[in-house]
């Protein structure tokens, strides 16, 4: 294309009051008009608005513009908007360049003159670059109509059910022996106090029996490759040492196993399990697993085989090996959940020092009908507590640990208070910073608990100690003292109690970071996965086709988790239902005339997108796999590899316009 045919239109956006008046937009427009090949330059209040786009479309048609530059916000915001406008007017969508004069100039510069000068530089660079743009096309490719869900807690289960109900093949991966996650450990749920098991187990059964859901428990995702619509996923199935097809879940093996003193993870180490075990009676699937670290045969190579001897189905298989399974999916929903904050570093609360200090999850089990005490709230000695303290915000809202509010603790703490009152009649003190009960029927529950006689004390607890103020008082012998200031009455309190419950905050699940790295989803400073947009794309991620559900994105309660899981499922289904997705146009191109066949690019490509053509002795790009990262273009010693839309020429022209 000859240079003299290039007609550029430049549009400077005011962005309401965001860019103008910090940037003198009229001066920038005037400046742009003087740049080479610029046919027309305008400024307008909102370029992204419908009349703004009309300007572009009309000008293209009227003045025969064939290149468009918009100086406004970040391309992540509106690049697609303006590219669509170009296409509507009949020019290729890649004949467009955006100059970000909002985030990169107006918002970050104090001085108006400096901001205007920088905006001019950025516009000049965009104009210089767009001159060398080439028309590019993306291709439509078929998608695989199946969905991978990582994590089998309530979020993953709901996402799987919703997607499965829409008729899509779902693969649900859970690393524990059973699905159910944290919710399976709860007895009652706030604020309605409905039984968690009653609403949970039917869902677990539904997942287990759903014709569209393939369940992989005791399994982990080990690699994810590919792109939206076509992800290749490798799953590691850990050996259960039990043939799932033969086991009928009778449970005799667990009765007969002689190794009975292993702390039960499901019961938060408050009871014991056997070496062959199922985490809880309602587990799905109800096939047990053999713990290879404790089984006499597997761990110590000593004679035993009690389970094998009694298993009528002949399901025990000590030779089972880890298996790898490869599946292809069109979309991925991450639902890796959370872990409870470990309060041990906060030694002032005495967790791990005093036996009657519990975490909230331990209390959940203590209170659970299937828990170690059958649902009786008992102390370790077997007595009912008479005085109970509940400490809010342990690990949360604390600059030394987690700065954020974990959102669920106030409500579950008040649930605990209610249950303690109801089941034991004990006196309960809740120590809070602020009570946060923003949810349907939540404030009402707060009021109800207060009416039930729970002492609400506004004050962060200083310490829990076994030092009593009045050691001669035999009533208090063996009790713990909770030291705090009641900041409403401005009085120091030292309250002797029998039991302390630490309402620990929420943290990202162990291994969530690895899952994120594998897929390419980023996390915030606390490790929660980052959504594409905090308000308008809360279940999407920067990776197209990958969605978030539940606590992996940030602490949330069960209603919010279920809603988000349904949302993530809806997005995944919407993406796949069309049947096709567009490929990236900005991908690598290897010039066959320049390629020397050294294969450096093949080595550096992390997406395995470059093949070596033995016959011709050159490298070729797989356009479906290439993500346009540019590694090959940098590594190629003969400059044969380049990235479309980021060619050396385009980038150098852009730089030169800024620097010179």
């Amino acid at each position: 294309m000859k240079r003299d045919q290039i007609n550029i239109g430049v549009y400077i956006c005011h962005c309401g009051m965001n860019i103008s008046p910090k940037v003198d937009v009229e001066a920038v427009a005037e400046f742009a008009e003087g740049l080479a090949h610029v046919r027309i330059a305008r400024d307008y209040k909102f370029m992204c608005s419908s009349p703004g786009q009309e300007f572009i479309i009309d000008d293209i048609r009227q003045y025969g513009l064939n290149r468009i530059v918009v100086a406004s916000c970040s391309p992540r915001m509106h690049e697609a908007t303006f590219r669509n406008a170009c296409e509507t007017a009949g020019i290729n969508r890649h004949y467009f360049q955006m100059a970000n004069i909002r985030e990169q100039a107006a918002w970050v510069t104090l001085d108006t003159k400096e901001a205007t000068a920088k905006a001019m530089d950025l516009v000049a660079a965009a104009v210089a670059r767009v001159t060398y743009h080439r028309p590019l096309e993306s291709r439509e490719v078929k998608v695989n109509k199946s969905i991978l869900v990582i994590g089998g807690g309530i979020a993953g289960m709901q996402a799987a059910i919703s997607s499965g109900n829409a008729g899509y093949q779902v693969y649900l991966i859970e690393r524990e022996p059973s699905i159910g996650g944290h919710m399976a450990k709860f007895d009652k749920t706030f604020p309605t106090l409905d039984c968690a098991a009653c609403i949970m187990t039917p869902k677990m059964v539904e997942v287990g029996q759903h014709e569209s859901i393939r369940l992989f428990t005791y399994s982990e995702v080990v690699s994810v490759e590919g792109f939206v619509g076509n992800y290749s996923v490798r799953i590691l199935k850990k050996p259960r040492f039990i043939d799932e097809s033969k086991c009928n879940g009778c449970g005799i093996c667990m009765e007969k196993c002689p190794i009975k003193k292993i702390p039960s993870e499901f019961n938060e180490n408050l009871s014991f399990r056997t070496a062959i075990y199922s985490p809880f009676p309602q587990a799905v699937p109800n096939t047990p697993v053999i713990d290879p670290d404790h089984c006499r045969i597997l761990a110590e190579n000593k004679p035993c085989g009690a389970c094998e001897k009694f298993c009528e189905a002949g399901a025990i298989d000590f030779n089972q090996q880890p298996e790898h399974m490869d599946i292809t999916v069109g979309s991925i929903i991450i639902a890796t959940g959370f872990k409870a904050f470990d309060p041990e570093p906060l030694v002032q609360y005495g967790y791990g020092i005093y036996p009657e200090v519990y975490t909230s999850l331990e209390f959940e089990r203590l209170n659970n009908a299937t828990g170690p005490t059958g649902g009786s709230i008992l102390m370790k000695g077997g007595d009912f507590p008479k005085r109970v303290a509940i400490i809010h915000c342990v690990g949360s809202r604390d600059a030394q640990y987690r700065e954020y509010c974990s959102r669920v603790c106030c409500m579950y703490s008040m649930k605990f208070a209610h249950l303690v009152r109801e089941k034991t009649g004990a006196e309960v003190w809740e120590f809070y910073i602020d009570v946060r009960s923003p949810g349907k029927l939540y404030e009402e529950f707060y009021n109800r608990v207060q009416k039930e006689g729970v002492h609400m004390i506004r004050g962060r607890v200083a310490e829990v100690t076994d030092i009593l103020d009045d050691p001669e008082n035999s009533e208090d012998k063996g009790r713990l003292t909770v030291v705090a200031e009641n900041t409403l009455t401005r009085r120091m309190l030292r309250i002797p109690v029998d039991m302390v419950i630490l309402s620990v905050g929420l943290e990202p699940a162990e291994g969530a970071g690895d899952v994120g790295r594998m897929i390419g989803v980023s996390s915030d400073g606390n490790g929660w996965f980052t959504e594409l947009h905090a308000k308008l794309a809360p279940v999407s991620t920067v990776i197209k086709g990958v969605f978030l559900a539940g606590c992996c994105q940030g602490p949330k309660d069960i209603p919010d988790t279920v809603a988000q899981a349904m949302g993530a499922s809806g997005e995944a289904v919407a993406l796949l239902s069309k049947g096709t997705v567009m490929t990236r146009a900005e991908i690598s191109f290897i010039d066959p005339d320049l390629c020397a066949g050294c294969q450096t690019c093949v080595e550096v490509c992390v997406y395995n997108a470059i093949d070596f053509d033995e016959g011709r002795g050159i490298a070729t790009v797989n356009e479906l796999l290439c993500q346009g990262c540019g590694s090959c273009a940098v590594a190629c010693p003969s400059s044969a590899a380049s990235i479309k839309h980021f060619t050396n020429r385009q980038v150098m022209e852009e730089l030169e316009a800024i620097l010179i």
Binding site: V347, Q348, I353, E463, T465, D466, I467, D469, P471
Partner: protein
């Protein structure tokens, strides 16, 4: 390593602190050279009234130590320790303070050029002395019936968080156990001794002392090891008002000295108000 020793105001008059520190220095060949012409650290009082004056006090000390070629400043008192570290912390975060301080130091032709590390003598004993030297000095297996409760007071571990767990530390216990001393675990390690309130508000401070002593006795300790002259004084003298059996309050250096087999007379143990009869008897 040249240790610049900052004794602080209470060291020489405290019950046997100087004697026991000097005995350990002799036994372990530790060179603690007193910083010439040292001044008051200002403690918490000056900082709370006028922090720029307090900074000059700390700044002068730091400048003196540097002038005399020391590498580190060693204190034996929690208040000195935290006051100096607090001053350094402020100067590091607001370098303009150093310019201000230097204006005042100029009259003495002193200049603050670098901020030397400040360490507690406990840290030096526990971490700088090679195991070999301890073994050489320790004469015999100690067979004392001491069951020592380590008591840290307020200002060694907090707010720094780098001398072990700040709320329930165990650096002193670990160190004493290495020397064969029997230590007990208890919950009063960092409780308040009353500090300078002991003088104007003696009555209000009595329960504080009582709480610490009773906790130690409840956990079966029979002596408390302190690392700060103020703690030692408050707990030792404060027991006079209480109606509970006396519990000796020793400096940790005295306990270390006994563990090494140093004569209790050389450790100034006879200066403690609540006496350690049993130990003295054993020795003689």
């Amino acid at each position: 390593m040249r240790y610049g020793f900052f004794p602080g105001c209470a060291y020489k008059t405290a019950a046997g602190y100087r004697e026991s520190v000097e005995a350990l220095n002799r036994a372990l060949a530790i060179q603690l050279v007193e910083i010439p012409d040292w001044n008051c650290c200002g403690a918490t009082a000056v900082f709370s009234i006028n922090s720029s004056v307090a900074l000059v006090l700390s700044g002068r000390l730091l400048a003196l130590a540097d002038l005399h070629g020391f590498d580190e400043i060693i204190t034996v008192c929690n208040a000195c320790y935290t006051t100096l570290r607090k001053a350094i912390h402020m100067m590091e975060h607001h370098p303009e303070l150093i310019t201000e301080i230097n204006k005042h130091l100029k009259t003495e032709t002193l200049q603050l050029k670098r901020l030397l590390p400040v360490r507690h003598y406990l840290d030096v004993l526990a971490n700088d002395i090679p195991e070999m030297r301890w073994r050489k000095v320790k004469q015999s297996k100690s067979d004392s019936d001491l069951r020592v409760a380590a008591y840290y007071g307020c200002q060694l571990t907090r707010p720094w968080k780098d001398q072990g767990q700040p709320e329930r530390p165990d650096v002193l216990e670990q160190f004493l156990e290495r020397l064969g001393v029997t230590v007990i675990e208890h919950s009063a390690k960092t409780l308040c001794c009353g500090a300078s309130h002991m003088i104007p508000y003696a009555k209000d401070c009595a329960p504080l002392v009582s709480r610490i002593i009773r906790e130690v006795r409840k956990k079966n300790g029979n002596i408390i090891a302190t690392i700060c002259p103020m703690c030692q004084f408050n707990l030792d003298a404060g027991q006079g008002r209480l109606n509970i059996p006396g519990t000796p309050i020793a400096f940790f250096t005295q306990i270390v000295g006994l563990a090494l087999g140093i004569d209790s007379k050389d450790l100034g143990i006879d200066k403690l108000l609540v006496p350690m009869y049993k130990i003295s008897d054993n020795k003689e």
